[in-house]
């Protein structure tokens, strides 16, 4: 048995500011229509947010305003699944698409629990996932609203990089023309350039925050990063408030690293979660804390948080903004190019779509973040994130990093046997030489009895 390794910890001072901003932007979104703004739906708009900036007052509700509510209420989610499955959609296709389409059929997709209906002006499909684009087709047909697809290509070889950047850039030009025609608004290049600069800054700061977790003890736990990610999605990376807040947050995190302040009280084992944490069972990421272990990272979440300069050996480094590289964005052309490069060259959004880099990166991440174990979620609900998990597991085992696999679903509660997963998680944590720390299980707020 390994003796628990305790560290000093304290709450993040930036937390209150983050909550205040979330409240402000939540209202800002809901009041968009009253202000005469444009409402856009689209899951991919968690990135590419600056494509809204040129339209002036425009907000995104992601793929549906009700998603997180559904995911907090498994019974409601099950109703949605059953509704869409009764229309002939199989249980083997993308689970988040199914729950969203089911909520659409039940009239819960674009309506708040208070009954306020949000009618999107158009749907912007960021095509980096084959399932999602097919789902958008169904939505657009159902709502009878215009939709535009932007394929996010990737470069399978270094020689094809320019082809991929040009393909993306040219589609962005087409989108700008289309959005003007569709909304009747004039595209504001000044706001667009500003949006792209902010998006770039947000992405590099997000990456630096994740990189800071390489420190021992890690200044943050995965549950914190989860919250920052929600913040970025809610506020939008294109808005100056996002990078400004992240800059303050990064300064605080760096201060914590200098002073050895940990994200959680114990960090006897540093763990990594590969894949999406089930939406309806977020406490899972806190479960190892009962054993004095902490999830300190996840490729999926780190990639969603920021952009990185890729290295041959799979190691990551936070990317530099165009300005930091001496490139000044002044015109639409500059901004389009910078946005295309962001998502073809620096974002794992595209490079991650080949399997080989995933494996190399996982092995490099285990070394860089000094991991004691990696947990893989074999997600029955998402075929986009799972590829490479098994190959990465084999590669990690060769380097001596213990691994654990559980089968579940990011969205479908029917596919996660909670008790079994936690039982097996217990065994895995014990195999790492850990034992439950008296009283800590209760503090984490998650137990098998929950």
């Amino acid at each position: 048995m390994i003796a628990p390794q305790a560290y000093e910890t304290r709450p993040l001072e930036s937390w209150a500011k983050m909550k205040e901003l979330k409240r402000k932007f939540f209202l800002h979104k809901w009041q968009c229509k009253e202000r005469g703004g444009t409402i856009v739906f689209g899951g991919g708009l968690l990135n590419f947010c600056s494509l809204l900036s040129g339209l002036g007052d425009a907000v995104s509700f992601g793929e549906g305003i009700y998603f997180s509510t559904l995911m907090r209420n498994p019974d409601l989610a099950k109703r949605c699944f059953e509704a869409i499955e009764s229309k002939g959609y199989g249980i083997d296709i993308c689970s988040s698409s199914r729950v969203l389409m089911g909520s659409m059929l039940l009239g819960m997709h674009n309506k708040s629990p208070q009954g306020v209906v949000v009618q999107p002006d158009f749907w912007l499909d960021i095509n980096n996932c084959e399932s999602r684009s097919k789902c958008v087709q169904v939505f657009a047909e159902y709502y009878k609203i215009p939709f535009f697809t932007i394929e996010v290509p990737f470069a399978p070889t270094p020689e094809s990089r320019e082809m991929a950047v040009s393909l993306l850039a040219n589609q962005i030009y087409d989108y700008i023309d289309w959005a003007q025609r569709t909304t009747g608004k004039t595209w504001d290049d000044e706001k667009f350039v500003e949006g792209v600069k902010n998006e770039w800054r947000s992405q590099t700061l997000g990456a630096k925050i994740c990189m800071a977790n390489q420190a021992v003890p890690a200044p943050l736990a995965l549950k914190h990063i989860d919250n920052f990610l929600t913040f970025m999605h809610l506020i939008g990376r294109q808005n100056a408030e996002t990078p400004d807040f992240l800059q303050t947050l990064l300064a605080e995190i760096e201060e914590r690293v200098r002073n050895g302040i940990a994200g959680v009280p114990y960090e006897t084992a540093r763990l990594w979660h590969e894949g999406q944490v089930p939406w309806f069972f977020r406490p899972l990421v806190k479960y190892p804390e009962a054993y004095g272990a902490s999830f300190i990272g996840s490729r999926f979440e780190f990639q969603a948080m920021g952009v990185y300069a890729p290295h041959e050996d799979g190691s990551w480094e936070a990317a530099m903004t165009p300005e930091e590289r001496g490139i000044h964005l002044r015109s639409r052309d500059d901004a389009v190019r910078a946005l295309a490069e962001l998502y073809v060259i620096y974002s794992h959004n595209s490079s991650d779509r080949m399997i080989a880099p995933r494996v190399t990166e996982m092995v490099a991440a285990a070394k860089a973040w000094r991991l004691d174990g990696v947990v893989f979620h074999m997600d029955l609900g998402c075929k986009g994130i799972v590829p490479g998990h098994l190959e990465a597991k084999l590669a990690l085992q060769k380097t001596g990093v213990p691994t654990f696999i559980y089968e579940g679903s990011n969205c479908d509660p029917r596919n996660l046997a909670t008790f079994q997963v936690l039982d097996r998680m217990d065994s895995f944590l014990e195999s790492l030489g850990l034992r439950k720390i008296e009283g800590n299980a209760r503090e984490t707020g998650v137990d098998k009895e929950d």
Partner: protein, 424 residues
């Protein structure tokens, strides 16, 4: 530099399948084919003995064999480089080698293909390629290379958003990169002449296969669905020049047949469906599969590459003719009946399916959906609703690695009863 295989493509030999390798007595496969009297049956042999065919081809030509996974692969370029493109198809045999590499929740085609790669069934391959399609295929492509490396590999970026005017220039560039890569590997320069010729041979193959399908439009059917399917599948395995010659012969034979009255006229819709036995089983129940929308069927050959004429013009720079040929190839793959993965925005598939149904007087449609395939899974309910609104009954059969023949038989029988009740 010239390549023996490239020269082989230029040979004019008849009867093709009695050609023996230079200095040899002819391979087992060649002799077996030569002893057959009916060209139609020879496709069956080739599909069954596909690996032997490829090995024989290698030994008699000295050329390289390039495997590919998705039919968006621009085979013409491989062919112009003197190599033989061979589609990886399912074996449908139980295996226990892939589960540590690929999630069991992935489509059976991808798992089956990888299993065969890891088992060394394709050990004769010199190259493994794929065109950009789904994440499942990318996993297969990668794991195969990782654990059973093939000397040459190339991933062709075929855009997914083919509705965009930007797709074609990007795809042309991806084809140019592929051409360069093949040239470096094979040592054969792809010239405008060799590519033009490859396009001609491929177009001829497409026309011939379309002729075969034309024969299934009438009320008397001179060939079965299984025979037609084997002709298409063999086309994905054989040297196209050889296939063309065999196909010409087969068409003559088929045209001489009196034909059988058609049963309930069906169309099958799906992805990679090389389980010909399933088609035979359906037809054994009194149905006739008169047309399909499969990537092992009509989607593979339905349209041609149209090369602008004249190929060369005044004032065009060096290399321009080649670029125009690549452009014609790109357009062909963009225009072909789409796989659901690439059927984005305004749906083209629905209209295409309805046209096929009307042209071939289809009375019912069976969707053969490969389990765990999201793009087909998303399309299936939409297609069913669309066709049923047009009074065309549908049945969705979900297939996995192996076929549950007994269950399917019962379901198809019930479906045929329903169709018969509707048409009488």
């Amino acid at each position: 530099m010239t390549n023996p295989a490239a020269e082989y493509h230029n040979l004019s030999f008849l009867p093709l399948l009695t050609v023996a390798r230079p200095g040899g007595t002819g391979s087992t496969m060649t002799r077996a084919i030569a002893s057959k009297t009916r060209a139609v049956d020879e496709f069956s042999d080739i599909v069954r003995d596909r690996h032997q065919y490829a090995r024989d081809w290698k030994s008699r030509t000295g050329g390289k064999v390039v495997g590919y996974l998705c039919t968006y692969m621009p085979e013409e370029i491989i062919y112009a480089a003197g190599a033989l493109p061979v589609r990886i198809l399912g074996s449908h045999e139980p295996q226990d080698v892939v589960d540590r590499h690929i999630f069991s929740f992935f489509c059976s085609y991808c798992r089956d293909a990888l299993a065969q790669g890891l088992q060394g069934r394709y050990s004769y391959l010199d190259g493994l390629t794929t065109a950009h399609c789904c994440i499942h295929i990318r996993q297969t492509y990668d794991s195969w290379q990782r654990h059973a490396p093939v000397p040459y590999k190339h991933y062709v970026y075929m855009p997914a958003h083919i509705q965009s005017q930007r797709a074609k220039p990007a795809f042309v560039e991806a084809l140019r990169l592929f051409q360069t890569s093949l040239e470096e590997w094979t040592g054969v320069t792809v010239t405008s002449e060799s590519l033009d010729r490859a396009i001609d041979i491929y177009n001829q193959n497409r026309r011939l296969l379309k002729q075969v399908y034309e024969l299934r439009k009438g009320q008397r059917l001179p060939l079965s669905a299984a025979e037609a399917a084997r002709m298409v599948i063999a086309s994905q395995l054989m040297d196209k020049l050889e296939h063309n010659r065999l196909l010409e012969q087969a068409i003559k034979e088929v045209k001489r047949r009196p034909g059988n009255p058609s049963g309930v006229r069906l169309m099958v819709v799906g992805s990679e469906v090389d389980e010909v036995e399933l088609l035979e089983m359906i037809e054994s129940l009194g149905a006739s599969i008169v047309v399909d929308d499969l990537c092992t069927g009509s989607r593979y050959f339905w349209n041609e590459a149209v090369v602008p004429s004249p190929l060369t013009g005044e004032g065009e720079g060096e290399g321009e003719p080649l670029r125009r040929l690549l452009s014609a190839i790109a357009q062909r793959y963009i225009d072909r009946p789409p796989c659901p993965l690439k059927d984005l925005e305004e749906r083209r598939r629905l209209t295409h399916l309805l046209n096929l149904a009307r042209e071939y007087a289809v009375q019912g449609v069976i969707l053969i959906t490969r389990k765990f395939c999201d793009p087909h899974g998303f399309d299936a309910p939409v297609i069913q609703t669309f066709l049923e609104d047009k009074d065309i009954p549908t049945l969705n059969l979900e297939v996995d690695w192996t076929i549950a023949a007994g269950q399917f038989r019962t379901r198809v029988e019930a479906f045929l009863e329903l169709v018969r009740a509707q048409i009488t």
